[in-house]
Amino acid sequence: AQSVTQPDIHITVSEGASLELRCNYSYGATPYLFWYVQSPGQGLQLLLKYFSGDTLVQGIKGFEAEFKRSQSSFNLRKPSVHWSDAAEYFCAVGGWLTGGGNKLTFGTGTQLKVEL
């Protein structure tokens, strides 16, 4: 069965500092991987996705993630955090569903706090 682990429940960084959020997955084949962000009281917004090809993927808002098959990881990074990045971040792995959709399995999320 597919699973996702986000080992950090809370992370606090200073504005302008770099950020790395960790994500480890378990999946039997080449995974489809996603990072979503959720601002307070809002739905989830896609930051970036990996399906195949270049293992370093660029997303919106200056985020990037690197797929490392040998480590079963898909860590999210940003070189310089802005106060507006404070939110909850979810990593997800996509498996097969009847009818051809993605069965997304989510991690438990990492809450990011940004200190000014």
């Binding site: 996702v4 429940i9 489809y32 996603f34 979503y36 009281g41 809002q42 739905g43 989830l44 917004q45 896609l46 996705k49 399906f51 979810f90 996509g94 097969w96 569903l97 009847t98 009818g99 051809g100 959709g101 993605n102 069965k103 997304l104 989510f106 991690g107 438990t108 999320g109």
Partner: protein
């Protein structure tokens, strides 16, 4: 701009009531999903639908049912609401396997 809308942002219901949560997408997506989100548990799939009138159980279907009579609309039904169904409910849709899911803003349901 793609959009998934949910009928209510906040809902308060009493134990035993029948509850309907509505979701509409305007992207002509084949697949639609209902999740519940609880602190420390992330998002868990309740039901999904890959076509009109087609539905499949997700990981936690107990106590829920769904209806999809039109392609753009996917309803989640709590036949007899219970306090352990107090949660945030998120609807999503996607265009298929190699596409991301788009999420609605969520409905925070409280059952008293």
């Amino acid at each position: 701009d793609v959009k998934v809308t949910q009928s209510s942002r906040y809902l308060v219901k009493r134990t035993g009531e029948k509850v309907f949560l509505e979701c509409v997408q305007d992207m002509d997506h084949e697949n639609m999903f209902w999740y519940r989100q609880d602190p420390g548990l992330g998002l868990r799939l309740i039901y999904f639908s890959y076509d009109v009138k087609m539905k499949e159980k997700g990981d936690i279907p107990e106590g829920y049912s769904v209806s999809r009579e039109k392609k753009e609309r996917f309803s989640l039904i709590l036949e007899s609401a219970s306090t352990n169904q107090t949660s945030m409910y998120l609807c999503a849709s996607d265009a298929g396997r190699r596409h991301e899911q788009y999420f609605g803003p969520g409905t925070r349901l409280t059952v008293t």
